[in-house]
Amino acid sequence: MSGKAKNKALNRDSLAYRLLNFKEMSAVVPIVVLLIIGIVINPNFMNKANWWAILRTSSFMGIVAIPVAFLLMTKSMDLSVGQVVASSSVIFAIMCCKMNIPVPAAFVIIILFGALIGFINGFLIVDVGIPSFLVTLSMQFVLLGIATQLVEGVSVTGFPKWFQNIGAWKLFDFITVEMLAFLAVGIIGHFFLTKTVSGHQLLMIGTNDKTAELCGMKVKNIRRTAHILTSMLAALTAVLFSARTGQATSGTGGEWDMQLMIAAMIGGTSNYGGRGSIIGAMLGIIYMRILLNVLIMVGLAGDWQYVGMGISMIFAIVFDYWRTRVTMTQVR
């Protein structure tokens, strides 16, 4: 901290401090802001169909955002998740539609495929010691090549009717399979992180892996598992996505990698490792989908959406930076 910076000290017991001290606050505040904007500009914003769409797309990405948050907490990252989704959906579709492999068998195979990719990533990063950035970026290209080569630009269709019915199924005329999956992964992830010994160890490993090793933690195991889990859940999302759309293209999941990481960071997960929140990551991804929704309503179509998304993400991240500084300087 520079000597000149005026240090407006917040009282630790004050309501403002306690509110700001929530990791998830950096996702909650922008969501509230967006909600207000949405309600003001469009009366249809709050209707059920709109929210169903928002939550549904959030769920697909959210299932992967949760393990990505875990990866960030261990000071790692995965730039290949998007292409794991793409290649899994393509391979899954080819198995089901062209090779006539029964869907349940194809499902198992594709989840194992995800696990294999995750294992390769994890092995190269954890055991060989290559930076995660390089490993997963290379893996991204490998998978991108596979996915595009296999379908050659066309979409694969022809899933069995019962499988597509799963994608169309609704509980209370609102809740879908992927929403349930998102919620389940989120709840398990949250309790794992906050309540279990391994969850605590994961955060400690992210803070200082050398010390963690000397404390008898299974550092390599936990870090490798996080990578395997990430790719497995990416494969799961691919299957759910196919069930919903009834087809598979190589474009699915294309730009997810960065968006997932940013969502996790907006939700209070530190990209320096050792700190994070699963609820925050879930809110972060929901924020990004609401944002897209609002941008479309404002009339920012096409590529302008990217500009809007980028700017608002910067705001969200600056808010998080400011929040951490205000709450962290208290200790001095």
């Binding site: 000149k4 010994v197 200082n208 010390t211 933690m217």
Partner: protein, 505 residues
């Protein structure tokens, strides 16, 4: 007669929010003297030096600093450097990927006629400066290849080349060996003869006594008193530092040594990068119940590596371990822990603490988390109970177990790391530099603790680079050099001289 003061600090007060780090500090430094500043950790030594060096600019503190009678108004560290104040930090902050001469000229490179960096001239000038202070280092070597002591001396050379009149040394001996300390002191004395004034910050009394002309004791942000060389007295200065009489620095202890606890046979650990070289070479020894065994030797002699080998954190190519006469397999840290071995690492920032937002509780319980389970989940109550107990036992000064560990002073941080080792309830405790960077008061507490543990039947190995400390607390000594045991001696046989003889053999 008016004294010739090169530096006068008058009524310096520095506040951080509500916290007063320095209060009415008054220090006068005579031209050409070596002026020691001693105080416990957290007494305000570092803050004072940062004020002097311009890290905290003029105006952010109260009071005045006069250099050569001129009021110092530094806006940044570069301003202070211009007035001739140079600082060599405790953690040497050099650019390790650049060469020695690039480091010396890092603030202003030399350029040739067409504006390119003139390496030849820089190397030449470097050699000149090195010669003048008796340093034999090639200016073309990479800074990172030098050891800590050499880097430190290069930083001296840098200060000399920049025509510094005052050089501040912040705990210069905290990570170098005894011989290197002597070497450094010689350079300091030589430079003093050339008219350079030194501010020597340390809490090692033997160094201050050996080197300083005068010594200012500071405590709780206040300057207590300045003592001249004639009046140096260990007990007096220490009691000024801690503000109370702590009795003898090294408490009395009668060892209660039992049967053999741990036996190590033919431990060999290969060098990480150099093939065919061993950092620990065929080492065998044993440790008895309730015994405090000291590993003496130089930094880099292989002492830490032996401990890490026993703890399973370094892979060994050969080695058998026997605990209570039975052979045990130690292939990783978890094996060692389940056999009741615990290690305190030498570098608490690098491999001892979990920093960032981690709390005292997080740090204390880190190695016993699996034991704090309640059903599937981690029990908050058990974790809090365990850490509160340890916090009380070790008198860790923190607001609560939920305080961030970064907000603690060095001594208390060390107690936290120690507390973590103790929570694992070890039978064999490996202490690698247990008092590094810790003030006298805390040292005393740690010595008492070590004795109590030994009395409770725990076998302890202590590594320390401070020989007097080692000589005073251990029951038996192994002198280690070049990865092998060069000598073994009992408490009665051991002295600094005998140990050094073996160590440099």
């Amino acid at each position: 007669m008016k004294e010739d003061y090169i530096l006068e600090m008058k009524n310096i007060t520095k506040r951080f929010g509500n916290f007063t780090a320095l209060e009415n500090m008054n220090i006068s430094v005579k031209r050409g003297e070596i002026h020691a500043i001693c105080g416990e950790n957290g007494a305000g030594k570092s803050t004072l030096m940062k004020v002097l060096h311009g890290y905290y600019p003029y105006g952010t503190y109260e009071g005045e600093i006069y250099v050569d009678g001129q009021l110092l108004r530094s806006a940044n560290t570069a301003d202070s450097q211009k007035t001739g104040i140079a600082m060599v930090y405790q953690e040497i902050n050099c650019l390790s990927t650049l060469t020695v001469s690039e480091n010396i000229f890092s603030s202003k490179m030399l350029y040739n006629r067409i504006g390119l960096v003139d390496y030849k001239a820089m190397h030449k000038e470097c050699e000149k400066v090195f010669q003048s202070i008796g340093l034999d280092i090639d200016p073309r070597t990479l800074m990172g290849k030098l050891n800590t002591s050499q880097q430190q001396l290069v930083m001296f050379a840098k200060a000399v080349r920049e025509d510094a009149g005052i050089i501040i040394l912040d705990e210069p001996t905290s990570s170098i060996t005894k011989i290197e300390v002597n070497n450094m002191m010689e350079v300091v004395r030589k430079l003093q003869k050339d008219g350079i004034t030194f501010l020597y910050i340390s809490h090692k009394m033997d160094e201050i006594f050996a080197l300083a002309d005068r010594c200012t004791v500071i405590r709780d942000g206040k300057s207590i008193d300045t003592v001249s060389r004639e009046d140096f007295d260990l007990g007096k200065i220490i009691s000024m530092m801690v503000g109370r009489d702590i009795g003898a620095v090294y408490p009395k202890h009668t060892p209660k040594i039992g049967a053999e606890k741990l036996r190590v046979e033919n431990l060999t650990i290969p060098h990480k990068r150099v093939k065919g070289r061993n950092v620990v070479d065929n080492v065998s020894f044993m440790l008895k119940t309730g015994e405090i065994l000291g590993f003496a030797g130089m930094v880099g002699a292989g002492r830490s590596e032996i401990c890490n080998g026993i703890y399973g954190s370094l892979k060994c190519t050969s080695g058998k371990f026997f605990i209570d006469g039975k052979e045990v397999a130690i292939n990783n840290v978890r094996d060692a822990m389940s056999n009741g071995i615990s290690l305190l690492t030498e570098d608490r920032h690098e491999s001892g603490l979990f920093l960032q937002d981690k709390t005292v509780k997080n740090n204390l319980t880190a190695s016993i988390l699996p034991r704090l389970r309640q059903g599937m989940f981690l029990s908050k109550q058990k974790a809090a109970a365990a850490s509160n107990k340890m916090m009380g036992e070790l008198q860790i000064r923190a607001e609560s177990v939920e305080s961030r560990v970064t907000s603690l002073s060095g001594g208390n941080q060390q107690k936290v790391v120690l507390g973590r080792s103790l929570l694992a309830q070890p039978n064999i405790l490996l202490l690698d530099e247990p008092t590094r960077g810790v003030d006298v008061g805390t040292k005393n507490q740690i010595y008492h603790l070590i004795y109590n543990l030994a009395d409770a039947g725990i076998s302890i190995i202590v590594i320390s680079s401070e020989l007097p400390e080692l000589l005073n607390i251990c029951d038996r000594f192994l002198v280690i050099a070049e990865g092998t045991i060069k000598g073994e001696m009992s408490r009665d046989e051991a002295s600094e001289e005998t140990i050094m003889q073996y160590a440099v053999q």
